[in-house]
Symmetry: C2
Subunit: 442 residues, 2 copies
Amino acid sequence: MSSGSYRGAGADLLSRHGVTAGDTVSISTDDGETMAGVIMPRYESASDSYIVIKLKSGYNTGIEVSKIKTIKKIAGATTASEAAAQSGQPLRQQDDNALPKIALISTGGTIASKIDYRTGGVKAALSASELYASVPELASIASVDPEVLMSEYSENINPGHWTVMADKIAEKVRSGKYDGIIVSHGTDTMHYTASALSFALQGLPIPVVLVGAQRSSDRPSSDAALNLIGATTFAAKAPVAGVFVAMHAGTSDDVVAVHVGTRVRKNHTSRRDAFESIDVTPVALVKDGKVEMQQQSGIDLAARGKNELKLQSSFDSRVALVKYHPGFDPTMVYWLLSKGCGAIVFEGTGLGHVNKNLFGVLKEAAEKGVHMFMTSQCIWGRVSMTVYDTGRDLLNIGVVPLSDMISETAVVKAMWALANAQDPEKTMQENLAGEMSSAIPI
Amino acid sequence: MSSGSYRGAGADLLSRHGVTAGDTVSISTDDGETMAGVIMPRYESASDSYIVIKLKSGYNTGIEVSKIKTIKKIAGATTASEAAAQSGQPLRQQDDNALPKIALISTGGTIASKIDYRTGGVKAALSASELYASVPELASIASVDPEVLMSEYSENINPGHWTVMADKIAEKVRSGKYDGIIVSHGTDTMHYTASALSFALQGLPIPVVLVGAQRSSDRPSSDAALNLIGATTFAAKAPVAGVFVAMHAGTSDDVVAVHVGTRVRKNHTSRRDAFESIDVTPVALVKDGKVEMQQQSGIDLAARGKNELKLQSSFDSRVALVKYHPGFDPTMVYWLLSKGCGAIVFEGTGLGHVNKNLFGVLKEAAEKGVHMFMTSQCIWGRVSMTVYDTGRDLLNIGVVPLSDMISETAVVKAMWALANAQDPEKTMQENLAGEMSSAIPI
């Protein structure tokens, strides 16, 4: 039996109705509902009590075997993609010159994971080619060339991984073979990686789109297929270049939002629409196979094919992100100085403040040449350090305000600036990749 | 001349039209607009080029003197409150037993500040009684008893200040004289203070409402008056008790939202509607002098007058809030151990994760009896540490998940639990003041 087929009650049911994975069917349930879609292949570890069908929207839904009344075949698995889905084998792509060429680089995370039903947990396991095989719609959008670069939960991704990813992407870009690149990534730190790639890969001539899933790809409520379809569509068709994040948007099941890589944040632990653009609108929405570019405020997007890639993939980890809170111990900054910290990004309160009991150690840090930057834990809005005494005092000490740059982007940019910029403080205040919407008034 | 009167071009204009501060007028401008409202008194340092009128909504608007065509008096300053506004003197409240009695405790911040027009900056300056005099509407809502407790920018508020505030509030509550208490506070850390008071003042029989302003009270776009009116209305009339935050809501100029003190966050650096309830809906909206209680999910509010106050106002500052980011230096945790840190609240990624390179030092911390708690930097949603390997590993090490408690509330509660709880880990997992919406499944 192929790895894509069902077992137990599910297999019996499909067999009884003369259908199999890859067939387009109409299913009626005891509840009086009728759904049409393609029967999805199942992985070894999957539960036997559900049949999963992919709806026309690209969204997977699971139907309890015990509730299924009838299954009617609408069309057999006749196309190459359906055959691949049926077999569970990677699709051998025809050399179709009419389709855009996309590189899919897999790094790990939920989008590349399946549930271990014994424990109820999720393990990073699915390869890029398995992923590709499980989302046959991709075949009609692009000729996709998958590669597994690494397999890491994203909470374990560190600046060294960013360098490996940037170098690999640069290699693919410079090959000239691709119209776009997709990077599958765990969602926990996807926005940090998106920022890192935005600074490391300036002047990209094509889109590089990070994509993940909040629910693993063989769960009925998974957003993996929809997100991957959205990312591929944008990478293949968008008129712009740069680093982006493509994830499920809103509460409907058919829209993917594409965000600027330096302006996006995971704002919910579990919702599929967890990723949101901060202080700007998303770059585009992808729906029904179409890329709808959105009006942008303050972000200049590069046109596709216009720029030449400048790879600067080094990061210097001697940067700390310090979130201020009442009762914060100022001596932590002394410890950072003793550790040879090169830059501190503060996540201050409101317009960019910290307690005045920090002023002493911040003066010492400034004298030692440690770069200090201010962002706000409010997340939305921009820091403005000329309004109150505290802000003016911090400016006088030498703390540099970072306008509306979010703290996650700021800590990544500081690591990049320490490794690549002649004058890190100057570079931090320049908009390089859409990370701040205007010059900083001091 | 009284401190409330205009000077220069503004004074000339008012004099020419036979009107003065406190009068209800209709003003027409060169732009063809007509606005009706009460002329507000001006402070010494205010600009001369604007007349400020308070609209019926309680919202102040500034009109450029040079653009004013006509001013028509609708009503003179005849009521006590208008006379107070006109004179700029604190209102001597009549002993009106029909009105609820409210204590207004001033701690500082923008709501108690006025712009220094020489520098363009804002200084903490306005006393509670000045505030009260400048918002004459309060006289018709409640008999307000103001007191200046301290005058601190809220970024300088520390756990010691929380104790002073809690003790003062307890004193006022126990006097039995008040139907509600308002605490004016800077907005930067108002949500931290609200959490602190929520734990320190359990069993409150009346509402304690924190209120601030995003724009200072003599700026035309100030939200100080609206917020103070909203807070007073809620403190006087709401059927519930506990600690709340009342601030401007939405984009209109006439709605104040009231949030549970442990569930609110400043989510924008400058917008007047910066404060938002996290994972729950606001407790109430205050509009047109009415308190509209909202449907709550998961938060049990105490009825007014039902409980007896239990004051526990100590806080132990030996608590750190650590926001994880890629490239985070695990040796920071060794430093925390060396400092005698009693508890660490992690702001992890996603469902509650940190890099596996922290596992070693976290095991050491657990062995030393340091309490470790997990929240999420996503802000919205709850941590869930049984889904992925990383979460399960952290649970095994002894890190305690805090469900949907926001990190700002968690660090405050940990400081309170270290000082007051027999078993801080147990107490952290119990819902004491609406800070988490359900028991934590481990």
